[in-house]
């Protein structure tokens, strides 16, 4: 089963990390990726730009309209995600716990099942 592990980022928390903490987080992600590639559970991962770079497209009176800024005003935002293919939800949660963010107070991971996937090679 495919799950998305979403990294919920809080900019205030990110600002206050020490250089050393940042490096450890970066290395932790690297190790995590190697581990799930080796186990055959890795599908994809993406890191997203700051939400200040978001543009929102939604229906308006003359068809779709484009506006600046994030879709929803909130402190936390989606910083990136891992897409994994695992045996069950328990395993997805186990993996989420190994992502360095899980040990940083103020950051969080959201785990949700995927209903449909097309990776474009079929």
């Amino acid at each position: 089963m495919k799950y998305v592990i979403m990294m919920q980022v809080d900019p205030a928390v990110m600002e206050n990390l020490t250089e050393e903490q940042q490096q450890r987080i970066g290395e932790g992600h690297g190790a995590f990726m190697s581990e799930i590639k080796e186990s055959g559970e890795f599908v994809a991962t993406q890191a997203l730009a700051d939400p200040s770079r978001s543009r929102v497209v939604r229906s308006g009176s003359d068809g779709p309209e484009v506006t600046d800024g994030p879709f929803a005003e909130s402190k936390e935002y989606l910083g990136g995600f891992y897409l994994v293919d695992v045996e069950n939800e328990a395993r997805a949660l186990e993996l989420a716990k190994r992502i360095p963010d899980a040990n940083v107070p103020g950051l969080a991971l959201e785990v949700r099942p995927v209903l449909f996937a097309d990776l474009g090679d079929g």
């Binding site: 495919k2 590639k37 080796e38 186990s39 055959g40 559970e41 890795f42 599908v43 994809a44 293919d85 045996e87 099942p113 209903l115 449909f116 996937a117 097309d118 990776l119 090679d121 079929g122």
Partner: protein, 408 residues
């Protein structure tokens, strides 16, 4: 069928038998090397026999694969002496013996209970069904590298089990593992392709092909026959399962004239042939239930009493350990004893297995039928949130819209 397809089919059928011959000769601890050698021999075959095949394709492939195996062993400098001597000292024994069991042997190795579950399916699809890593990746919508890694890990695990060649006393246990892998492959086919365009490798067709070949190898097993019949009878309903727009059509809404009568006839005949005197195993019981549905003109004229009996038996032989079987039993129970009895049984099951897929959908359906509209709407909303696929979600939304227009 083009010549090229025919040739590809021929090679695919030969592959597991060639692999079996190598594994018999060189030992299952060398399974990974043997499998690599067979893959290389198949590539050689594609290059050298693009539109036809030698007189004895099996012999040609076996000889080529053996040569490739020896090449590989020889090129591995660290193990050169020891391995090469072993390879030369123990050429494949009795290549002509036990031909019928060849595919079975490789199946049993690929479905070895000690392999990781996802690896068993991937390895079976490659080593037995003869699919390429790219095809398997396409079926599962996973990167090719992920599938390649699963195959590598599975082969490594197999090598680590050492003497993995099945011993007769473990025959039953090993057969169960094979049946479970094939059934998993089959159900995943219906799950992954629900609403999606057809792909070049059809997982359901592969599972059925493997089950047919397994039945040839183990003609006396009622469970093998049961699994094959279950697959045929389920596959027969496939054309009616997805409606326009990709919504799932449940049994009671299916246009039964779309069911594949030839598959039903074959599946039903298989059940009838083996059911008398057979020990009722889980696959045969499910095939019996599928056969009863297949012969009914509609849901009202279905033998629900018999189906209820079979589900109770199925719960009993599976040790009451599978809540999905219990959920299906409750559907039958509601048809026989009324919706109130079904709803009461559902409450009990929900308490024991919270979050069970489809439970809220069944509840919504029973509530709707009992005229409890508002409760049904709430249950449909929960069912939509619980759905594990898009086709199922679409179906539930359309049911909800019917009950609460504008809310769905």
């Amino acid at each position: 069928m083009t010549d090229e397809n025919r040739a590809a089919d021929l090679w695919r059928e030969a592959a597991p038998r060639v692999l079996a011959r190598l594994v018999r000769g060189y030992g299952s601890a060398r399974f990974d090397l043997c499998e690599d050698a067979v893959q290389e021999a198949l590539l050689d075959a594609h290059r050298q026999w693009p539109s036809g095949s030698p007189d004895d394709p099996l012999g040609w492939l076996t000889a080529t694969a053996r040569r490739r195996f020896v090449d590989r062993v020889r090129s591995d400098a660290r193990r050169r002496d020891r391995e090469e001597r072993a390879a030369r000292l123990h050429p494949p024994v009795h290549p002509e013996a036990a031909e019928r069991d060849d595919s079975l042997l490789v199946l049993q190795l690929c479905c070895h209970p000690e392999l990781p579950r996802a690896g068993r399916v991937a390895l079976t699809l490659r080593a037995v069904a003869g699919l390429t890593t790219a095809q398997i990746a396409g079926v599962y919508q996973l990167p090719e590298r992920t599938i390649a890694q699963r195959i590598t890990r599975a082969k490594r695990a197999l090598a680590a089990t050492g003497r993995a060649l099945p011993r007769p006393e473990h025959a039953a246990e090993r057969l169960t593992s094979v049946l479970d892998v094939l059934y998993l492959m089959f159900t995943e086919a219906h799950h992954t392709t629900g609403g999606a365009p057809p792909r070049d490798a059809d997982l359901a067709a592969e599972a059925i092909r493997l089950a047919r070949s397994l039945r040839d190898s183990v003609p006396d097993s009622a469970e093998v026959a049961g699994l094959l019949a279950l697959m045929l009878l389920t596959e027969a309903r496939q054309p009616a399962r997805i409606g326009p727009g990709g919504a799932l059509r449940p049994l009671d809404e299916q246009d039964r004239s779309l069911w594949d009568r030839a598959l039903i006839a074959e599946g039903t005949a298989l059940v009838e042939r083996v059911v008398a005197g057979a020990e009722p195993g889980p696959y045969l019981l499910q095939a019996c239930i599928a056969a009863l549905h297949a012969e009914a003109p509609d849901t009202d004229r279905t033998d629900w009493e018999e189906i209820l009996v079979l589900y109770r038996l199925l719960e009993s032989v599976t040790g009451h350990a599978n809540p999905t079987i219990t959920l299906n039993r409750i559907v039958a129970q509601a048809m026989v004893h009324g919706d109130a009895a079904g709803l009461a049984a559902l409450d009990e099951l929900a308490a024991r297995s919270p979050g069970l897929p489809r439970l809220e959908a069944v509840r919504a359906h029973l509530l709707e039928r009992s005229g409890r509209g508002e409760e049904a709407v709430a249950a449909y909303r929960r069912a939509i949130a619980d759905a594990v696929g898009l086709a199922e979600q679409r179906h539930l939304r359309s049911r909800l819209r019917r009950l609460a227009p504008g809310d769905g």
